[in-house]
Protein backbone atom coordinates (compact mmCIF):
# COMPACT_ATOMS: atom_id res chain seq x y z
CA UNK A 1 0.00 0.00 0.00
CA UNK A 2 1.38 3.30 -1.04
CA UNK A 3 0.48 6.71 -2.29
CA UNK A 4 1.14 6.87 -5.99
CA UNK A 5 1.02 9.21 -8.94
CA UNK A 6 -0.64 8.28 -12.25
CA UNK A 7 2.60 8.35 -14.23
CA UNK A 8 3.66 4.80 -15.08
CA UNK A 9 0.77 3.47 -13.00
CA UNK A 10 -2.59 4.40 -14.49
CA UNK A 11 -4.09 3.01 -17.68
CA UNK A 12 -6.72 4.80 -19.78
CA UNK A 13 -8.60 3.17 -22.63
CA UNK A 14 -11.59 3.98 -24.80
CA UNK A 15 -13.81 1.26 -26.21
CA UNK A 16 -16.94 1.36 -28.38
CA UNK A 17 -18.70 -1.38 -26.48
CA UNK A 18 -18.76 -3.11 -23.10
CA UNK A 19 -20.57 -6.25 -22.02
CA UNK A 20 -21.73 -4.46 -18.87
CA UNK A 21 -20.91 -1.10 -17.36
CA UNK A 22 -20.43 -2.76 -14.00
CA UNK A 23 -18.43 -5.68 -15.38
CA UNK A 24 -16.54 -5.05 -18.60
CA UNK A 25 -14.84 -8.12 -19.96
CA UNK A 26 -11.14 -8.57 -20.52
CA UNK A 27 -12.00 -8.74 -24.22
CA UNK A 28 -13.61 -5.30 -24.03
CA UNK A 29 -10.38 -3.93 -22.62
CA UNK A 30 -8.24 -5.78 -25.15
CA UNK A 31 -10.29 -4.15 -27.89
CA UNK A 32 -9.96 -0.67 -26.39
CA UNK A 33 -7.83 2.07 -27.86
CA UNK A 34 -5.03 2.71 -25.37
CA UNK A 35 -4.99 6.47 -24.80
CA UNK A 36 -2.65 6.38 -21.81
CA UNK A 37 0.33 7.93 -23.66
CA UNK A 38 -1.82 10.88 -24.76
CA UNK A 39 -3.51 11.80 -21.49
CA UNK A 40 -2.51 14.96 -19.67
CA UNK A 41 -5.36 15.06 -17.20
CA UNK A 42 -8.80 13.60 -16.66
CA UNK A 43 -11.69 15.07 -14.75
CA UNK A 44 -14.19 12.28 -14.37
CA UNK A 45 -16.34 13.13 -11.40
CA UNK A 46 -19.81 12.69 -10.08
CA UNK A 47 -21.55 15.11 -7.79
CA UNK A 48 -24.57 14.65 -5.61
CA UNK A 49 -27.10 17.36 -5.02
CA UNK A 50 -28.88 18.03 -1.78
CA UNK A 51 -32.34 19.47 -1.35
CA UNK A 52 -32.81 21.90 1.56
CA UNK A 53 -35.74 21.04 3.80
CA UNK A 54 -35.72 23.71 6.53
CA UNK A 55 -38.71 24.14 8.75
CA UNK A 56 -39.96 26.87 11.07
CA UNK A 57 -39.69 24.72 14.14
CA UNK A 58 -35.89 24.50 14.05
CA UNK A 59 -32.88 26.75 13.57
CA UNK A 60 -31.05 23.82 12.03
CA UNK A 61 -31.52 23.70 8.25
CA UNK A 62 -32.03 20.09 7.28
CA UNK A 63 -31.52 18.63 3.84
CA UNK A 64 -32.29 15.42 2.00
CA UNK A 65 -30.52 13.58 -0.76
CA UNK A 66 -31.34 14.78 -4.27
CA UNK A 67 -30.13 13.90 -7.73
CA UNK A 68 -26.64 12.92 -8.81
CA UNK A 69 -24.85 14.16 -11.90
CA UNK A 70 -21.53 13.46 -13.55
CA UNK A 71 -19.10 15.33 -15.75
CA UNK A 72 -16.27 14.12 -17.94
CA UNK A 73 -13.49 16.26 -19.39
CA UNK A 74 -10.00 15.22 -20.39
CA UNK A 75 -6.93 16.88 -21.87
CA UNK A 76 -4.81 15.07 -24.46
CA UNK A 77 -1.70 15.68 -26.52
CA UNK A 78 -1.82 16.04 -30.28
CA UNK A 79 0.78 14.06 -32.22
CA UNK A 80 1.91 14.87 -35.75
CA UNK A 81 2.58 11.22 -36.67
CA UNK A 82 0.17 9.15 -34.56
CA UNK A 83 -2.69 11.46 -33.60
CA UNK A 84 -4.63 8.69 -31.91
CA UNK A 85 -6.52 10.59 -29.21
CA UNK A 86 -7.64 13.28 -31.63
CA UNK A 87 -8.73 10.69 -34.20
CA UNK A 88 -10.61 8.63 -31.63
CA UNK A 89 -12.64 11.37 -30.01
CA UNK A 90 -14.39 13.58 -32.55
CA UNK A 91 -17.64 15.25 -31.59
CA UNK A 92 -20.64 12.84 -31.45
CA UNK A 93 -18.49 9.83 -30.64
CA UNK A 94 -20.03 7.56 -28.06
CA UNK A 95 -18.24 4.87 -26.12
CA UNK A 96 -16.80 3.98 -22.77
CA UNK A 97 -13.71 5.26 -21.02
CA UNK A 98 -12.02 2.54 -18.99
CA UNK A 99 -9.91 4.08 -16.25
CA UNK A 100 -7.55 2.04 -14.13
CA UNK A 101 -6.14 4.57 -11.69
CA UNK A 102 -3.81 2.15 -9.95
CA UNK A 103 -3.03 0.21 -13.11
CA UNK A 104 -3.94 -3.32 -13.97
CA UNK A 105 -2.01 -6.55 -13.66
CA UNK A 106 -1.53 -6.91 -17.41
CA UNK A 107 1.25 -5.73 -19.66
CA UNK A 108 1.88 -1.98 -19.50
CA UNK A 109 -0.61 -1.76 -16.59
CA UNK A 110 -3.52 -2.91 -18.76
CA UNK A 111 -6.39 -4.23 -16.62
CA UNK A 112 -7.15 -7.92 -16.83
CA UNK A 113 -9.77 -10.16 -15.23
CA UNK A 114 -10.56 -9.33 -11.58
CA UNK A 115 -8.89 -5.90 -11.74
CA UNK A 116 -10.98 -2.95 -10.55
CA UNK A 117 -11.62 -0.19 -13.07
CA UNK A 118 -13.88 2.78 -13.60
CA UNK A 119 -16.28 2.65 -16.54
CA UNK A 120 -17.52 5.99 -17.85
CA UNK A 121 -20.15 5.90 -20.61
CA UNK A 122 -19.67 9.10 -22.59
CA UNK A 123 -20.83 11.00 -25.62
CA UNK A 124 -18.24 13.49 -26.83
CA UNK A 125 -19.84 16.92 -27.12
CA UNK A 126 -16.76 18.93 -27.99
CA UNK A 127 -13.15 18.43 -29.02
CA UNK A 128 -11.41 21.73 -28.54
CA UNK A 129 -7.83 22.66 -29.30
CA UNK A 130 -5.99 24.58 -26.65
CA UNK A 131 -4.79 28.02 -27.58
CA UNK A 132 -1.83 27.86 -29.92
CA UNK A 133 1.01 29.75 -28.34
CA UNK A 134 4.74 30.10 -28.50
CA UNK A 135 6.85 27.30 -27.04
CA UNK A 136 3.79 25.33 -25.97
CA UNK A 137 2.95 21.77 -26.94
CA UNK A 138 -0.27 21.25 -28.89
CA UNK A 139 -3.09 19.78 -26.82
CA UNK A 140 -6.85 19.52 -26.91
CA UNK A 141 -9.73 19.04 -24.50
CA UNK A 142 -12.48 16.51 -25.01
CA UNK A 143 -15.69 17.23 -23.14
CA UNK A 144 -18.40 14.64 -22.82
CA UNK A 145 -21.87 14.13 -21.52
CA UNK A 146 -22.41 11.10 -19.30
CA UNK A 147 -25.64 9.50 -20.57
CA UNK A 148 -25.52 6.47 -18.29
CA UNK A 149 -24.56 6.26 -14.64
CA UNK A 150 -20.83 5.49 -14.41
CA UNK A 151 -19.43 2.71 -12.27
CA UNK A 152 -16.38 3.63 -10.22
CA UNK A 153 -15.72 0.15 -8.88
CA UNK A 154 -16.32 -2.18 -11.80
CA UNK A 155 -14.58 -5.53 -11.74
CA UNK A 156 -13.20 -6.84 -15.01
CA UNK A 157 -14.84 -10.12 -15.97
CA UNK A 158 -12.92 -12.90 -17.66
Amino acid sequence: MARIIPNENSWIGFTPTVASVSAPTAANITAAVNLTPYVISINASSRGNTVPTPSFDSLFETSIAGTVQATFDADFYRDDSADLAWATLPRATDGFFIISRFGGAGADHKPIALDVVEVWPVLIVSRTMANMSNNTVLTFTASASVPVEPVEDAVVAA
Binding site: P16, T17, A27, V33, A82, P90, A92, T93, G95
Partner: protein, 76 residues
Protein backbone atom coordinates in the same frame (compact mmCIF):
# COMPACT_ATOMS: atom_id res chain seq x y z
CA UNK B 1 -26.34 17.18 -39.04
CA UNK B 2 -26.15 13.54 -40.06
CA UNK B 3 -23.82 11.03 -38.51
CA UNK B 4 -22.59 8.19 -40.68
CA UNK B 5 -21.63 5.05 -38.81
CA UNK B 6 -19.99 1.83 -39.89
CA UNK B 7 -19.86 -1.63 -38.36
CA UNK B 8 -16.50 -2.80 -37.17
CA UNK B 9 -15.32 -6.07 -35.73
CA UNK B 10 -12.36 -6.86 -33.52
CA UNK B 11 -10.29 -9.65 -34.97
CA UNK B 12 -8.84 -10.98 -31.72
CA UNK B 13 -11.98 -10.94 -29.58
CA UNK B 14 -14.76 -11.14 -32.17
CA UNK B 15 -16.52 -8.12 -30.71
CA UNK B 16 -18.68 -5.97 -32.95
CA UNK B 17 -19.56 -2.31 -32.67
CA UNK B 18 -20.77 0.68 -34.60
CA UNK B 19 -18.53 3.73 -34.79
CA UNK B 20 -18.34 6.99 -36.65
CA UNK B 21 -16.88 6.50 -40.10
CA UNK B 22 -14.34 9.24 -39.43
CA UNK B 23 -12.87 7.31 -36.50
CA UNK B 24 -12.18 4.03 -38.32
CA UNK B 25 -8.46 4.70 -38.67
CA UNK B 26 -8.17 5.08 -34.91
CA UNK B 27 -10.00 1.82 -34.23
CA UNK B 28 -7.84 -0.02 -36.73
CA UNK B 29 -4.83 0.69 -34.53
CA UNK B 30 -6.53 -1.34 -31.80
CA UNK B 31 -7.20 -4.34 -34.05
CA UNK B 32 -10.66 -3.44 -35.37
CA UNK B 33 -11.60 -3.81 -39.02
CA UNK B 34 -14.57 -2.53 -40.95
CA UNK B 35 -17.22 -5.13 -41.75
CA UNK B 36 -17.51 -4.98 -45.53
CA UNK B 37 -20.87 -4.15 -47.08
CA UNK B 38 -22.47 -3.58 -43.71
CA UNK B 39 -22.33 0.15 -43.37
CA UNK B 40 -25.02 1.41 -41.04
CA UNK B 41 -27.69 3.49 -42.79
CA UNK B 42 -27.05 7.16 -42.37
CA UNK B 43 -28.78 8.28 -39.23
CA UNK B 44 -30.62 11.53 -39.38
CA UNK B 45 -30.44 13.95 -36.53
CA UNK B 46 -32.60 12.30 -33.82
CA UNK B 47 -33.97 15.64 -32.72
CA UNK B 48 -35.01 16.43 -36.28
CA UNK B 49 -36.67 13.01 -36.62
CA UNK B 50 -38.52 13.58 -33.37
CA UNK B 51 -39.64 17.00 -34.53
CA UNK B 52 -40.91 15.62 -37.82
CA UNK B 53 -42.86 12.94 -35.95
CA UNK B 54 -44.46 15.57 -33.75
CA UNK B 55 -45.40 17.62 -36.80
CA UNK B 56 -46.97 14.58 -38.44
CA UNK B 57 -48.99 13.84 -35.33
CA UNK B 58 -50.05 17.46 -35.05
CA UNK B 59 -51.23 17.36 -38.67
CA UNK B 60 -53.44 14.35 -37.88
CA UNK B 61 -54.85 16.18 -34.90
CA UNK B 62 -55.61 19.17 -37.07
CA UNK B 63 -57.81 17.08 -39.39
CA UNK B 64 -59.73 16.00 -36.32
CA UNK B 65 -60.45 19.55 -35.31
CA UNK B 66 -57.44 19.95 -33.01
CA UNK B 67 -54.90 22.71 -32.88
CA UNK B 68 -53.02 23.66 -36.01
CA UNK B 69 -49.62 22.15 -36.68
CA UNK B 70 -46.68 24.48 -36.16
CA UNK B 71 -45.24 26.22 -39.19
CA UNK B 72 -42.07 24.28 -39.97
CA UNK B 73 -41.22 25.92 -43.26
CA UNK B 74 -37.65 27.11 -43.38
CA UNK B 75 -37.15 30.80 -43.79
CA UNK B 76 -34.53 31.82 -46.30
Amino acid sequence: MSVKKVKITHEETGLEAEVLETTVSAWETAGWTVVEDESVPEQANPAEASRQQLVAEASKTKTNGGPAAPDTSKKE
